[in-house]
Symmetry: D2
Subunit: 484 residues, 4 copies
């Protein structure tokens, strides 16, 4: 018998973080908590909130889901009308309790807290420089370098902020809280979404608009690429960082990460996925009886495919939502145990039929192979796998947790080889052009498909330097359930 | 600020139990555990497993989800190749740790354990008789009377079993474990499902076939209404209880409770729901632009409706799966907070459109009213609510957790009054005849729709006698997440 | 590396239980809780309280220390002015959550709860008879037979009670709660203590008077051997069971179990121990420099010895009070690890000196051997071990958790052999006569020293029958600390 | 009903920390864990261990007792033959999970960890300077400034270390771990103890020798005031910091903090206390019948008093060791509830007698007053309180958690006023001279008695600056038990 850690399975690439900021609304901590709850799909490893009142910052962070980390008592200890919050996976930085964000420090000007979604691609070299000048690092999180840069005196807080941001490169949608102000920043490329909303007399900033809906905030507009919005006693003001040569919004936010009920990049995620599915149906049609999806993230693309193809959509896989962090597997191994824990085929949908199976990505290929095998064992006559984006060939350096290039099945294999590997009867992807045509009017980052990285980065090997010399064990991890 | 107990919300009627039995398969406890995991939707309040080895029974029970109650250590302490397991809500009996099933006792013949899905409708009067003859009761569970009846000496164990079963009336799909044998029983009316499968050299019994899929068992057939299957050293043998005047399978198992990937009553749950949805489209058409469902349980019926009506199906509500047992609500109340925690509307689907909203039941009406209000606030132009069964007018006495008749919105109100109450533009239900026509070839219980109860029961007031004189508090309830 | 379960060490014989009863005092549950806290030394495995209000009983039980099992929430759910409570070790019955007392059932007359300190020596045969007449048993606790006897109708509750008590033999100081009354019973032999106190307008019953001190109750008198006190709406009344041929109070309560700040059997425990120590000094003098004790239970006897002998008393062993339930032992084993975790020698007291080491019992001898070895390694020149009672030769059948006779080092060995085994320079015990002379004016049970059992019992082998056919695993045992 | 937080009671001043270091012994983490367990009395709020292997440091820290924070799994994740460990109370720094020591950072040279017992009295001004040069602080612990100083490049690690130590003032017995070396440092005044022992092929450093006993290490000598011992691949070498004008060992370590089985400052704690008690008997005799102590810390001084005075010593107060972190107090308050939870009087010792009550300190006076009242209520005829040191008049700035001067009852009151306040029949303290005469041959810090602070410190108000701008809530504090 062994514990089966479900997290080990690479069902999908994982988003690293979600952030929220509240300015000038009573019960800010509770609103941040509810906002984080709606952003839980963006990070399930840790959660944290920092609030400001009367010149002081108050924080609480912990490993686990939002509902595990916070209860009435902890929220009551976070006073004030200003807050930032964070949920995360660990892309840089270990799953270490001390890596939980918002990072919260004290420095020359007093308290400072920061919640960051993205990845600073030159964090290693900045860190080395800072270390040579005597800096010490408590975490292995890339975002800690920003705090150090903010602690360097170059004049006013705002001047220091712009100086610090001019030093870092990469993806950063972030919120910064001081006793006097809240700052929302989005990098000039605009990799990660960041949205602005109004609530009562105040403001809300969040990674997705679904956070606005629960707390009754009204969507106002995007925080634009390169925009820095500062909320303080004088109100809200917007300033600009030096522009990027071109924007590079993360198209995977629309394909997979964001919730379909969110609006990001001024696009309805739901509609974008419907159009991707329809484009897929046109690009890769199949002689089939029924369209099914790998639930839940591919549902909308599958509906779009089905409608365009004139085929019925059905629920061919049932997903379990009671899935825990680990499962006990019998000694007599169960084939495809992890996949079976999560999905079960509906024989009545599959038996004797030709299936179009829509998914939104293939990472290593092993999960797809198991799903295809399971569907075939349930009686499917043919399985035509369709992916609502191009083959994923290159790792992301801008905030998505991806394996090394060699582990991406599409890195060295053509589509036919992948098809054989996953044992589908046919396999179809969108081309980059087809994908972009389905969501026009934006400049997207397509590096994971093309290898054309819009921002130069240090080699990935160097990045691991952040962790050297410090390991902290994670004991008694919060219980609760993990949605993979 | 207050804790918001989500369980208090009456989203749907709740199933009370799921059972599983394993005979002659190595690692029986682990297989029972995985089986219970797939049956988790049938009961999330407690879980338990009892195994048999060398003349002794070994048990473990606890409050919470299967993955909370069991870990590697506890499963390792449950030896042997025979097991029964149980997940439950409390229909009779309080949420008391000592009410957790399988009930496990010692009596004249040694150990005995029992896991029961259903409701013994004459438990109170049997209990009173037993008490008058000196019996003592440790739980407030109706099933405890069966144990007392089994402890009365009327000859062989098998004779006693038949004598005991002839005394009880109502719904009982159950598994009984002794050191020598496993017994699977289904009441003559056949209210609750119970299925038989093969695994390696042994047998598996479960409330739904989805339990077979995960552990690799092969579905063999139903345990038939009135059938008693005894597994012992001589193999498997089947005997019959006195037949009911007519069978009365619970049609709500097909409408709502069972998983769509299960086969019960020799029907694919998925297909039954598709047909109900199609019948609903014919019976209650609507001038509309799009069909949406209240996810996840109504998805299939909504697909059936959409296909029959020639309308597009879309995901108009996104359901959160991170929902915890309680949530902190701000002092400044959020309208429809509980419903909003669970569902969020997709504005892009709803805005400016005429919506068909398919659900599988309306209980008190309050949840439906909130959902309609939320959808309308998201921009829907018209909302045509459609229910894939008839109005629910009477409480169930055969194992479903339902409020008193007066609290069922359809008990005293006609459809138009309900429509006004929930503020839909139109409201349509299936008639009993339309529903039965969609799933022909079975004799169903329709008491919740018609008040025509197939098995005479004691007044509901008397049932609460089971609990009098004993209350046990439930402290430190297991954490974890609850799917409502 | 391995977990070192400290409970496995047989430092001392263990008392099985403490009980408390509250009648007619507001906040009865909280007073019972505080009473149990002071009786924690009598049982650290489980705790429970049942209260009565308006015809119903309300209970909460759990594994662990009193402060683990109860919190403000659970105590608030136990209403009323009447309560009984229990802490226990398991002498009969496994460490099973369902064996936690007070046992609480429902029967013909309504609710009934019982908390028992002692051991029913004919429980097995009564249980067999009850089983033959159709009774079922939910626990492996001997006390459950009393509940069954009480459920048999022989007239009024009081008549049934006397009839039931006339059937059981052995040791029972117990409290019984019904919706109408509280009953305190002490068996005719009076093995275990039970005391009566007054608090405000009501009454308190407890195993030791230390429970009275914390809650401000005033000690009134003993519940006498064979006395049954019934508290109900008519007040308090006392009745008598048939007298025993002679009383047989457990002298080990005075020697070791009870707290020195308690009065039991109308004796100050403190003074009794001082006199035992003094008698020991007269009976077994030693040429020595200093007297030390095995803390804390032997402190008083050692003080008595030192004073009588005219020798200085010092603290030669320091006892750790942070000791947890298990400890991690390095792979490179540490000699006498368990004893060292609990005791550390004070070199300054021991080095170069001739030591009198006073303890209150030697069970298997292994702990004493390790303590002697540890003290000698700390520099003691001579070690003269003195035991404040006679050699313990026979197991207790009246409520003390003792190993089988063969495992008692004094069962087959004379004092000189034991001395060699534990490697002391000399070893002295009190004789039975010397011990009794030190605490005159009582009739004590001396069975553990003499084998002269005052109440006939079934063979110990039969007793284990209670557990056959039922094992329940104990998972996630409450954390916390165990005083051994 | 309310939760009664026992920690709030000021029974005694509290030590802030214990440290341990292991060099070159297999299973270093497990040995550190056992060492910390023996030092648990020095700090019960948090515990942590960092180990080194192959150029990396591995750490685990958490809130709670040693046995709560570590289990087999976490210890197995701490590899290597070198370790440092820490238990603490918070004197500077809040009870914040992120303040748990050992502090562990990464800087220019790699990993670095530090465990500190004491108080850096110029931490605030160093911190301000560091902040002005751009440093950021993650904790509110004074020790973090040392890490920053170590990160400044002034040549070799050893040079930097000496440079850093020359900048800090105050009390610091500490251990530092790098991937290459272990450093043990004691400040030139020698406030806190630090001892060196041998174990197998390696070395152990600890705050008290009791840590050596459990793990089988042999006490070698003190780390001397101002000594820096460096363990690395070249072995052990000792260097010296600039000497203090005079040593100032903390005499309270001998009076109260350290365990009586420890040797510190080359003194047996046990013997020192016996001599203090004897001196007290000579200085403040009393016409009395019996001497009792406030257990456990005053036991030895009381024994010394009794022997010198020729009076019997008895246990007049029984201390509970099951005391939890909080207790539920009934609404009908119990007088002196907190004190009664911890101590219960032994009426047989006290009734009608003239009592000498020996304690080792009076802080605010409220606890003493309650104890005196409780003893008097138990029948004592006269109560003569004797304190085994002089009146405590000034707060400690060198590592003991003390209230502000105004809250110390002896700060503004003479002995007679205190006597009236605590309602004793007489009250006697040692004078400073009498105390010092009882423990000759050392230079002690007597600042808490005399206000003569040996090391200049910043005003206490400034110290709190360390915490400004950062508050972290502590949720779900580890359970378990607290010895007050």
């Amino acid at each position: 018998m062994k514990d089966f850690p479900l997290k080990a399975l690479s069902f999908h690439p994982r988003e690293e973080c979600g952030v929220v900021g509240i300015w000038n609304v009573p019960e800010a901590a509770k609103l941040a908590y509810l906002g984080l709850y709606t952003l839980q799909h963006r990070g399930q490893e840790s959660a944290g909130i920092v609030t400001a009142r009367e010149g002081e910052l108050w924080g609480h962070r912990g490993m686990g889901l939002v509902a595990d980390v916070f209860d009435a008592e902890t929220l009551n200890h976070l006073p004030g009308t200003r807050a930032i919050g964070h949920v995360r996976y660990s892309t840089t930085g270990d799953p270490d309790p001390e890596n939980c964000q918002p990072l919260q420090i004290q420095y020359r000007r007093g308290g400072l807290a920061l919640a960051h979604n993205g990845n600073i691609v030159n964090a290693s070299s900045i860190r080395r420089e800072l270390e040579l000048s005597g800096a010490i690092f408590h975490t292995t999180v890339d975002s800690e370098v920003i705090l150090h840069l903010l602690a360097r005196d170059v004049g006013s807080f705002e001047d220091t902020l712009f100086s610090a941001l001019s030093a870092v490169r990469g993806a950063y949608s972030m919120v910064i809280l001081t006793p006097e102000s809240l700052v929302a920043v989005r990098d000039p490329n605009g990799f990660r979404p960041l949205l602005l909303g109004r609530l009562k007399e105040g403001w809300v900033v969040a990674s997705e608009t679904c956070a606005f809906d629960l707390i009754g905030a009204v969507y106002e507009r995007e925080v634009e690429p390169g925009e820095v919005i500062i909320f303080d006693r004088e109100g809200l003001r917007s300033r600009r960082l030096a522009p990027a040569s071109r924007q590079s919004l993360c198209i995977f936010e629309l394909i997979y990460f964001s919730r379909p009920d969110s609006t990001i990049f001024e696009e309805s995620v739901h509609e974008a996925r419907l159009r991707l599915g329809a484009a897929l149906a046109r690009a890769c049609p199949a002689e089939a009886d029924v369209v099914i999806s790998v639930p839940d993230s591919s549902n909308t693309a599958a509906l779009g495919y089905a409608r365009e193809a004139g085929l019925p959509f059905e629920q061919g896989l049932i997903r379990s939502h009671y899935i825990g962090r680990t499962f006990i597997e019998p000694d007599a191994n169960i084939r495809d145990f992890g996949v079976r824990l999560k999905y079960n085929p509906v024989r009545a949908v599959l038996e004797g039929r030709r299936i179009v199976l829509v998914d939104d990505s293939i990472v290593r290929g092993s999960t797809s192979r198991k799903i295809v095998r399971m569907i075939r064992a349930a009686g499917a006559r043919e399985i035509h796998m369709r992916i609502s984006c191009p083959p994923w060939r290159y790792p992301c350096n801008y905030g998505i947790d991806t394996p090394e290039a060699e582990k991406l099945i599409a890195h060295r294999n053509d589509v036919e080889t992948i098809r054989k590997e996953i044992d589908a009867d046919s396999l179809g992807y969108l081309t980059v052009e087809q994908m972009l045509a389905a969501i026009p009017n934006h400049q997207f980052c397509t590096a994971c498909f093309t290898g054309d990285y819009p921002v130069r980065f240090e080699t990935r090997e160097k990045k691991t330097v952040l962790g050297t010399g410090r390991r902290t064990t994670v004991a008694r991890k919060a219980g609760g359930f993990l949605c993979l």
